[in-house]
Subunit: 406 residues, 2 copies
């Protein structure tokens, strides 16, 4: 990587030429020459997914009809296991279905049922709204306090020390936090924070929505207890695609509270009593959203083709470029970098702060660059390893520089 001052578009072009994942970009529909830097919000459409969904609709639903269920029934766990491999989770611990909010609710209640003596749930400061609302709703219904875990600076990562401080009295049942924060992209130390919770008798329930498919997530190795996340960001499964839930198998006795027939061990015996599977299948509730599950499956195929090592290496390099360029070109013009500079402590989007963030994002759009404004003052530029080009990020920084100097 050249020194910041010397970073030119030619440098970015050279990085694109050397990118071992560069050819994957053409596997997405309609990206062409456009700079789509919102893969952290909605991943683009893989061509294989378009074809797979068309086949499903026409050949499976359209022609096989009910017979298709022989192939669809186990999709929540079949796709879940495949996703689990990407998240460092052994088989039988991940299911795909429902929305992230519903999955969070289910696992939160399961965690709280395990600690009837507990008086509180802990939540990272400034979490994504649905995480805050779900936690507050469950806590209020059960008469529990919600404690706020401080972050390392505004919208920074959750730290082990802050978790220790929050849980020191042993009253906290579960710590809920995002691995990668939605505003700043700050990334926590998954294993260290989880261990801090465990030291005080709390479980760790992670929202890995912004991490799945973007940065390494080693759920089993980090001894995570529970996790949820969405599939329509870096997993490219489409708007409203089903979410996922992870429950470490050692917690198989922690049952989520919505006892649906798809969690039943012998589902079609239709027995009198709920007798669920003793693995993650207990987390499945109702009839699975088949089309969405197939879209998740196709998105995972692209990630497998990319390979975790290359995805991580390209991802880091993309983030290094955009961060370096922004520091050199934008910080002198009054822009603040809100994302940690430590590559281990950030995800795959760069957050910039400027009072006229809204105007600047509109200016990016005028230059054909799709980026994101978060009120009041944040600009987010996502660097998705599977489809973002180095020049896309360079051009975004250059557009911002031009806007701020014109």
């Amino acid at each position: 990587m050249p020194a910041p001052a010397a970073l030119t578009r030619a440098d970015a072009e050279a990085l694109d030429r050397a990118n071992p994942l560069a050819s994957l970009r053409s596997r997405f529909v309609g990206l062409g020459a456009s700079a789509y830097l919102m893969g952290n919000s909605l991943g683009p459409l893989p061509a294989a997914t378009e074809a797979r969904l068309a086949r499903f609709v026409r050949d499976e639903w359209g022609r096989e009809r009910v017979d298709g269920w022989s192939r669809w029934l186990d999709l929540p766990t079949r796709v879940g296991d495949r996703l689990g491999a990407l998240l460092g989770a052994g088989a039988g611990q991940v299911v795909v279905g429902d929305s992230t909010s519903v999955q969070l609710y289910k696992l939160l209640v399961a965690a709280l049922d395990a600690r009837p003596d507990a008086g509180a749930v802990a939540l990272a400061d400034g979490e994504f709204p649905t995480d805050r609302y779900v936690v507050a709703g469950v806590a209020a219904a059960r008469g529990l306090a919600v404690r706020t875990v401080a972050t390392d600076g505004p919208d920074g990562p959750v730290t082990p020390a802050a978790v220790e401080a929050t849980c020191a009295d042993g009253a906290v049942a579960v710590v809920v936090a995002s691995l990668v924060r939605f505003r700043t992209g700050a990334r926590a130390d998954l294993a260290a924070v989880t261990a801090a919770a465990h030291r005080h008798g709390a479980l760790a329930l992670w929202d890995v929505s912004h991490a799945a498919g973007s940065v390494p997530v080693a759920l089993d190795a980090a001894e995570v207890d529970l996790a949820v996340g969405c599939t329509y960001k870096y997993l490219n499964a489409g708007p409203g695609a089903p979410a996922f839930a992870y429950r470490a198998q050692r917690h198989a006795a922690l049952h989520q509270p919505i006892h649906g027939w798809f969690g039943q061990a012998d589902q079609f015996a239709m027995g009198d009593d709920y007798a669920p599977h003793d693995d993650a299948r207990q987390l499945v509730v109702g009839t699975p959203p088949v089309a969405g599950l197939l879209a998740v499956d196709e998105g995972l195929a692209l990630h497998e083709e990319a390979g975790a090592d290359r995805t991580n290496a390209v991802g880091r390099s993309l983030m290094a470029l955009v961060t370096t360029a922004a520091q050199a070109a934008l910080v002198p013009l009054g822009v603040a970098v809100a994302t940690p500079l430590d590559a281990e402590r950030r995800g795959q989007h760069l957050a910039l702060r400027h009072p006229d963030a809204a105007g600047l994002v509109a200016g990016l759009a005028a230059d054909g660059i799709v980026a994101d404004h978060r009120a009041p003052d944040v600009i987010r530029l996502a660097a998705a390893p599977l489809h973002t080009r180095f020049v896309d990020l360079w051009d975004a920084v250059e557009s911002l520089r031009r806007q701020l100097t014109s």
Copy 2:
């Protein structure tokens, strides 16, 4: 309708020629000459839905990407209101999303929160498994008893008298029952049963999965409190399509317990506290399943084109034919009709009982007739007003007759 003994295939053909909805059959993919009598399980694919989903994938997700959210955000209520019109529900009371099991859980908890003094929930005898499991799970978690509401005969409809008997002591918070029962197709009197619950201070929570799109459902007129149902049966929205929930607006203060960001009144202000919409939008939780919602929307367009009056008239006539034919041809051969003979007390499938139901359904399949076996001894033949032909039903009865006499 000719006398039973005289009912011939020519009679069925004549009824098909006179069927005002006959042309709708060609709007479904791949039905051709086949007899698909499982519309009560999974409705066939409308051609318009195939086209709509392809457009959504290619043009909306594929090209508009995040900009599509301006059109997708309000789908849960936009499609919900459209579905509400079919269910006799005024605007602002129906949302589409989640699975039926999750919707049932949400509304059940809302109902129980309204009656903290109550000691029991009442459930119709022999309900569909997921209804039983969800109710039992919630009741156990809250220390409530589950009382069984007797039905009018085995798998018969729930009656007002039985509800009165179950709720007489005023301890029941909510009565949960299916309007049309999944095994026999027995249909309850929606208004009378609801009124019986109300007389004893209980709410009525209906599962209308087998009724929606098949028989009249007048939720507002019947003063129903809460209802849920699925969209992949007679609404033809595809495998795993999202479910729906109805909450009468007079119960707007009854909040479902999963406080997601899509229920928030000012969602993108991302405010600190959960301050939900004061209509059915509170029932929406997470990011909506866009593809599934569009499939529901297209299915509803077909129902609107058919019109409620014609749908109901054709549906009754189909049921009259298959019931009459079965009584004449099959009852003398040891087959029992498990579905009520009163047209007001049944839905849109005929249930037959025979010890060799499994073998008979395999025999139907060998004759190109897709029907359903429910262990141990039930055969179900669904008469979906939008796509089932009179000859399909006649041929099914004739196939069974031949099998039983050969």
